[in-house]
Symmetry: C2
Subunit: 452 residues, 2 copies
C-alpha cells in the first residue's frame, strides 16, 4: 500500500508525542529510524506544525530530502516555516528545479526571494527559467535537466551523451531528438539505443513524438503524456525548440491534483491544500462556507417561487407534500447529466463544439427517464391520492427530468466556453438552479390541470 | 493535446462517411493515411459500429495495433465483433498479455475461448496465468514479460540479460532484483546499471522497493506505483516470488478508470464504458435509471414526513415556503462533507479507524457552518416575515447543517467498512437521506417554537 495502514501511524504518534514533551530526542530518532519514507510523510502531516520541524530534523539527510519531496506543497511550506534558515537553504538547494518552483509558490515572497538568492548560479538560473512561465502552465512542472540527442548523431555518440548526463538528468529513458536548431524532431528510447547498431544514426531509429509548449496548461500536457503512455513528453518554446521534459511521474502528480480539484468542486467545496487530517478546522470551514452561502442565497429563489404560488398551495395543500420529491428528482437528473458531461470534458472526449450533440442526447435521455418516472409516479399517486394529482405529478416529473438533464448537460460546456473550470458549475449549483425552475413548472402544471 | 481538436475529427467524419456509402475505400485509405494514432482512436469511437471495422481494416498493420491498444476495452469489444475471425486472431496474438486479458473480459465467452485456443502456446500460458487472478486484482493488469536480475550477479552480467530481453520485455528501465528463490529483494534502474562499475554486484547498487501481491486490488497497487513515483512496481505471489511488473503507464490507466468510476458514482450514475459520444443513448439511459429510481423511492419518505405534519403545515402555511431552502442547504452541507471524506479515503489520507476523528471534525465544522447560516437566515427571516419564524429557520439551519455534515462525513467510511465503494453512498444518496431527516427536525423545531 502507498500509505501504510494508518493504524501504525497512530501508534507511532502515540510513541513519539510523550517523548517530544520530554525532549527525549534520541528515543524519537530510534523510533523513526525504521519508518519508511511513506510512513514518515504521513506521520509529519499528522503532527502539530511545531512538532514537525523537531521530528524532521532527526531524519538522516538522504531520507529527509525524500520525505520532503513527498509532502504536499502546502505541507512543505508549513514545515519550512518551522525550520532554521540554514536548514531550509540546504533543503532548497537539494530539490529538483520543478519541485523548487512548487515550493516557492507556497512561501512568503520575502523568504522565497532570500532562498532563491542563496542558490548556486546554475540552480538559480534553472529555477528562474521555470518561474518565468505562467502559474498553471506546464513550464513550471517540467524538468529542465534532461539529456537530448541529435538526429544526425550515431547511436554510439548518443550513448556517450547519455552516460555523461546520467548524474544530472531527471530522466534518460526517453530522449528527445533535436535537429541543428534544437527543434524537436522525434524521440528515442534508451532501450532502442541499446538494441541498435552502434554505427546507426539516431534518425533511423527514432520515433515520432507529440510535444507541448511550455505555456500550455499543465493538466492538458499531463493528460497528453499519460494518454500517449510515454515516460516523458518534450516541452518546447514557441519556435519548437526544446526547453524541458515533463516526466510521467510529474504528469501523474499534476493529474492527481486536478482530480482532487474536480472532485471537490463537483461537491461544492474548494479543494484542500493538505491531507484531510492535516487540514486545520478553520481551513475545512473556509473551504465550504463561501459555496454554501452562495447556494443558500440562490435557494431563496425557491422561497420566492413558493410565496408567489401561495394561493395555489393554500387551496391544495397536498401539493406541498411532493415538493421535496419533485425537486430532488430534478436535482438528481441534473447531477447525473452534469457529472457525465464534466468527466467527458476532462477526458477530452467532447469539446465545446459538441454542444449541439450533447443537447440532443441529454434531451432524449431526460425525456426517456422522465417518461418512465412520470408514468410510475403518476399512476402510484393517482391510486393513493387522487387521479388529478397523479396527472400533475406525472407530467411534472416528465417536464422536470427533461429540463434538468438538458441544463445539467449544457452547463459544464458553457463553463468551458467561459474559460471557467466546468466542475465549478457543480452539482449543488445545478441542483439549486433546477430547484427554483422546477417549482415554477410544477405549479404552472398544477394550475392548468386542477384549473385553479 | 492528447485528443486533437475534435473539430478535425468531425471534418474527417464528414469526408469519410460519403465515401463509405460509395464504397470508395481507396479514397478513405488516403484520407486516414496521415491521421495520428490519437485522432484515429477518437475517429473510430465516433463512427457507427458497422463502419468502424471497414475503416479499421484500411489501416497499415503496425498502426492498426497501436490504435487498437488505445481504444477503451468496451470499444475494442465492439470492434472485434465487426471483424473477420482471421483478423481478430491476428490482433489478439499481437496484443500484450495484459491488454489481451482486458479484452477477454469484454468478449462473449465462446469467442474468448476460441481466441485463446488460437494463441501460440507461450502466449496462451502467459494469458491464462493472468486470467487466473481475480477480476479487479492487479494480477490481471501487470505484465508477465519483464527482465529480472539477480542480487549476486555482476552489473556486466545483468546488462547482458537486459540486452537479451530488450525485444520481448514490456519494461527494462526498472529491473526487479531477485534472490536465489526468485523472491524480490530490491530494484535497480537501468541508469544505475549504466553508471555502475561493470564488475560491481547488483546487491551493492540496488535500492529498496515496495511490492504488491498479484491478488491485491488493482487500484491500491496502481496508487502505490504512482505514489512512489516509480516506473514499475514488482508484483509477487504469496511467497514473495516475482510474478510480474505493473508499469506506470498501466497504473495510470487503472487510476483513470477508477477516477471515472468515482466521479460517476459521486453524481449517482454508473460509469460509462465507452467515450461519451460513442455511448448509445440506451446505455446513457441505463447508466442513470436505476439510481434515479432508487433515489425517487427514497424521496417518497419526504412525502410521508410532510403528510404526517399535515396539520402543522395547514396551520402555518408559510413553513412550506422554506422547505426547499432548508433541505437544499442540508443536502449541500452533506455533499461537501461526503466529497471531502470520499476523496481522502481514495488517496489513503484516512482509513476506517479514523472514524472518530472524522466524526468530531465534521461535527465541529457542521456546527460552525450552521451557526453562521442560522444566524444570517434567522435574522433575515425574522425581519421579512416574523420573529418566531426567524427563530425556527435559524435553529433548523444550525441543526440540519450539523447533522448533514456528520452524516455526510461518516457515510463514506461506513461504505468502506462494508467493503462497498465509498463513492456509492453518493452525493444524491446523502441528499435524499438528509432531506427526510431534515424535514422531521424542521417540523419538530417549528412545533416547539410556535407551540402548535
Amino acid at each position: 500500500m502507498t500509505t501504510p495502514p494508518a493504524a501504525d501511524i497512530t501508534e507511532l504518534i502515540d510513541v513519539i508525542q510523550p517523548r517530544l514533551r520530554d525532549r527525549d530526542l534520541t528515543a524519537i530518532g530510534d523510533a523513526v529510524g525504521a519508518v519508511s519514507t511513506d510512513q514518515m510523510t504521513a506521520l509529519l502531516d499528522r503532527l502539530p506544525v511545531k512538532q514537525r520541524a523537531v521530528v524532521y530534523r532527526l531524519l538522516p539527510k538522504e531520507k529527509a530530502i525524500d520525505v520532503f519531496e513527498r509532502l504536499a506543497p502546502r505541507s512543505q511550506g508549513d514545515l519550512v516555516l518551522g525550520l532554521q534558515d540554514a536548514e531550509v537553504v540546504s533543503i532548497f538547494s537539494d530539490l529538483d528545479p520543478d519541485d523548487r518552483v512548487r515550493l516557492v509558490d507556497e512561501l512568503p515572497a520575502a523568504l522565497a526571494t532570500r532562498l532563491l538568492r542563496g542558490l548556486r548560479t546554475k540552480d538559480r538560473e534553472l529555477t528562474a527559467e521555470l518561474l518565468g512561465y505562467p502559474s498553471g502552465s506546464v513550464g513550471r512542472r517540467m524538468t529542465p535537466e534532461y539529456v537530448s540527442v541529435r538526429a544526425d548523431h550515431t547511436v554510439e555518440e548518443s550513448m556517450r551523451r547519455v552516460r555523461a548526463g546520467l548524474e544530472q538528468a531527471e530522466t534518460v529513458y526517453t530522449l528527445p531528438v533535436l535537429d541543428e536548431k534544437r527543434r524537436v524532431v522525434g524521440v528515442v528510447g534508451l532501450r532502442d539505443l541499446l538494441s541498435a547498431d552502434p554505427g546507426a544514426h539516431v534518425s533511423e531509429i527514432m520515433g515520432r513524438t507529440e510535444t507541448a509548449t511550455a505555456y500550455d496548461d499543465a493538466e492538458a500536457a499531463a493528460r497528453e503524456c499519460t494518454g500517449l503512455g510515454v515516460l516523458a513528453l518534450p516541452i518546447v518554446d514557441n519556435e519548437s525548440r526544446l526547453v524541458g521534459m515533463l516526466t510521467i511521474d510529474d504528469a501523474v502528480r499534476v493529474l492527481e491534483g486536478e482530480e482532487t480539484e474536480d472532485s471537490a468542486r463537483q461537491g461544492g467545496v474548494e479543494p484542500l491544500r493538505r491531507p484531510y487530517l492535516a487540514t486545520p478546522l478553520r481551513a475545512l470551514f473556509s473551504s465550504r462556507v463561501v459555496w454554501l452561502l452562495v447556494l443558500a442565497v440562490g435557494a431563496t429563489l425557491t422561497v420566492q417561487v413558493l410565496s408567489i404560488f401561495e394561493e395555489t398551495l393554500e387551496q391544495v395543500t397536498v401539493l406541498a407534500w411532493f415538493v421535496p420529491l419533485l425537486i430532488g428528482t430534478g436535482g438528481n437528473t441534473g447531477n447525473q447529466a452534469a457529472t457525465t458531461v464534466t468527466r467527458a470534458l476532462a477526458l477530452n472526449d467532447i469539446g465545446p463544439h459538441d454542444v449541439g450533440r450533447v443537447l440532443v442526447r441529454e434531451l432524449c435521455v431526460g425525456i426517456a427517464l422522465g417518461s418512465l418516472l412520470g408514468a410510475l409516479g403518476g399512476v402510484i399517486t393517482a391510486v393513493i391520492y387522487e387521479p388529478a394529482i397523479g396527472v400533475v405529478i406525472g407530467v411534472t416529473l416528465l417536464a422536470v427530468c427533461a429540463m434538468a438533464a438538458t441544463i445539467g448537460g449544457i452547463m459544464p460546456i458553457v463553463a468551458r466556453v467561459l474559460r471557467v473550470d466546468p466542475a465549478v458549475f457543480s452539482n449543488p449549483f445545478i441542483t439549486t438552479f433546477v430547484d427554483a425552475s422546477g417549482l415554477v413548472v410544477y405549479f404552472l402544471i398544477a394550475r392548468a390541470v386542477l384549473q385553479i
